[in-house]
């Protein structure tokens, strides 16, 4: 299994897509920093939305998580899974003494590894860019916190934020992996994956029209059944002083991971592969 993982890892790094994704990190960070610098001109310094060197890693990730990160996950999963199945490249591996399940499991682990590495590089890079572009204040505001945070507290907050963001990314990988396995073409896989992201962004907004009908507690739970909404708002609420909806949000992430991993397993064992 170790050799299979190594083989998949090397192959993924031979692809230009993977390198382009990694090399674009500085550009993404600088673009995020420039945008947040302009936002600072219209935001009070007392608000958590005001970006300083210590909260830039979180501010610079929040929106990128549901746009750039999601896009990179879709491309890597589709090229590594659907493309290899569709073109028959995977047959070269299947003709060795490994089962289809083992090969796809290795791909799943390797893709998670690459994305975790992406998060790590982004985390380090965002601290550097944060220090370059933003003021290094002694204390600053955090979302859903009454007390002001010191840089050390901010660093711990950032680590926890990135940790939860990684969990949501694994949930997204699980969903995209399922889509990549069941779709027959790369176009279909990319289309359905983007459709899933749009759907999970759209239905919570639709639900908000019926907020009063559901009542606050049920509404919030339904709202945070969307993995992208957990990424967009849920993580800061989990990390708030009251730890709002932490249990619910963690459960939803766990359900996404387990449901789609099991579904992928069932889907790939159900059919023959005329590859």
């Amino acid at each position: 299994m170790k050799q299979l993982l190594l083989s998949e890892w090397i192959r993924l790094w031979k692809r230009k897509t993977t390198w382009i994704a990694f090399l674009s990190i500085p550009l993404i960070l600088i673009a995020a920093a420039k945008y947040l610098v302009s936002q600072n001109n219209v935001v009070s310094t007392k608000l958590p939305q005001y970006t300083v060197a210590w909260n830039f890693p979180v501010m610079g990730l929040a929106e990128m998580l549901i746009t750039v990160f999601q896009g990179i996950i879709i491309l890597i999963v589709v090229f590594s899974v659907t493309e290899e199945i569709r073109t028959g490249q995977i047959r070269m591996v299947l003709l060795r003494s490994y089962s289809y399940t083992e090969i796809l499991f290795a791909k799943y682990i390797v893709i998670i590894g690459v994305i975790l590495l992406f998060f790590t590089v982004y985390f380090i890079g965002s601290h550097i860019v944060g220090i370059i572009f933003f003021p290094m204040v002694d204390k600053f505001s955090l979302f859903y916190h009454q007390e002001l945070a010191t840089p050390i507290v901010g660093l711990m907050y950032n680590v926890r934020f990135y940790g939860i963001a990684c969990l949501t990314a694994i949930a997204i990988i699980s969903v995209m992996f399922f889509i990549a396995v069941v779709c027959r073409t790369t176009t279909a896989a990319i289309g359905v994956s983007i459709g899933f992201i749009i759907f999970t962004l759209g239905y919570p907004t639709m639900l908000s029209y019926f907020h009063e009908l559901f009542g606050n507690e049920l509404f919030v739970k339904l709202y945070f059944t969307s993995i992208t909404m957990i990424q967009f708002e849920g993580i800061t609420r989990i990390l708030g002083e009251s730890g709002n909806e932490a249990g619910w949000n963690y459960s939803v992430i766990a359900i996404y991971i387990s449901l789609f991993t099991v579904s992928t397993f069932i889907a790939m064992n159900k059919k023959d592969y005329f590859i």
């Binding site: 299979l4 192959r11 299947l94 089962s99 023959d272 005329f274």
Partner: protein, 242 residues
């Protein structure tokens, strides 16, 4: 010791109510070059997919060197090399990188042994000079030879080649024919080769399996199928028109 390297026992494959392969049974003796013949759509590639475990039979089982494909595919594939349809490589890697990536998947080979094995198979298929070029720059004949190289990485005792001469020019076909003979005679590899180019099979095979509409039509030695005054093509056409 097993006399047969391949035993196909009552294998059927049914998809959506249609029999792609229907109760096929035959054996291939060790050391043979066996030609798998059949008109287009006869089920040759489906049978080869079954022989390599890419798809599972609805009924029956396949034994390679005494190991069941159903229950022991891992062991079977350790000693079997194959090309199924046209060999498709990772185009963004060179020939050598492709082989390096695949040789890792053969257990119990040290780093040095892996490198040595790659050089051996590149030498066997005469691709040493182009090994560091990207596969997307290879001609079809070179891809077929690289396909054979990847199939040889695990030092197989049984090699399955699906339409290996498809799309090759006459020189490419001749080179491949020589390569198949060398693999059989010098390296002692038993080979099953499917093709619709009957002249080619006549030149290299000593055993023939004929299928049509997923059913076994004939199996035996080449000499049994074609009379002395007959070409394999004539004998084949006579057989399938019956």
């Amino acid at each position: 010791m097993e006399k047969h390297i391949l035993s196909v026992k009552g294998v059927s494959k049914k998809v959506r109510g249609r029999h792609l392969i229907d109760s096929v049974s035959f054996d291939v003796e060790k050391g043979a070059i066996c030609g798998l013949l059949g008109p287009n759509g006869a089920g040759k590639t489906t049978l080869i997919r079954l022989l390599t475990g890419l798809i599972r039979p609805t009924q029956g089982d396949i034994y390679i060197d005494g190991n069941s494909m159903k229950t022991n595919r891992k062991e079977v594939m350790l000693h079997t090399g194959a090309i199924v349809e046209s060999p498709i490589f990772f185009p963004y890697m060179s020939g050598r990188e492709n082989l390096r990536n695949l040789v890792r998947l053969h257990p119990n080979l040290s780093n040095e042994e892996q490198k040595q094995r790659i050089e051996e198979v590149l030498h066997i298929v005469s691709l040493e000079n182009r090994a560091d070029d990207k596969v997307k720059t290879y001609s079809l004949g070179m891809k077929q030879r690289l396909g054979i190289a990847q199939a040889l990485l695990g030092k197989p005792s049984f090699l399955i080649l699906d339409e290996p001469v498809n799309g090759l020019d006459p020189m490419g076909i001749r080179d491949l024919r020589e390569l198949i003979r060398t693999l059989n005679q010098q390296y002692g590899i038993t080979i099953l080769v499917s093709s619709h180019l009957l002249d080619e099979l006549q030149k290299i095979c000593n055993k023939i399996v004929v299928i049509r509409d997923g059913k076994l039509l004939w199996t035996g030695s080449k000499d049994q199928l074609a009379r002395e005054d007959q070409s394999l093509e004539e004998a084949f056409l006579e057989l399938v028109s019956q």
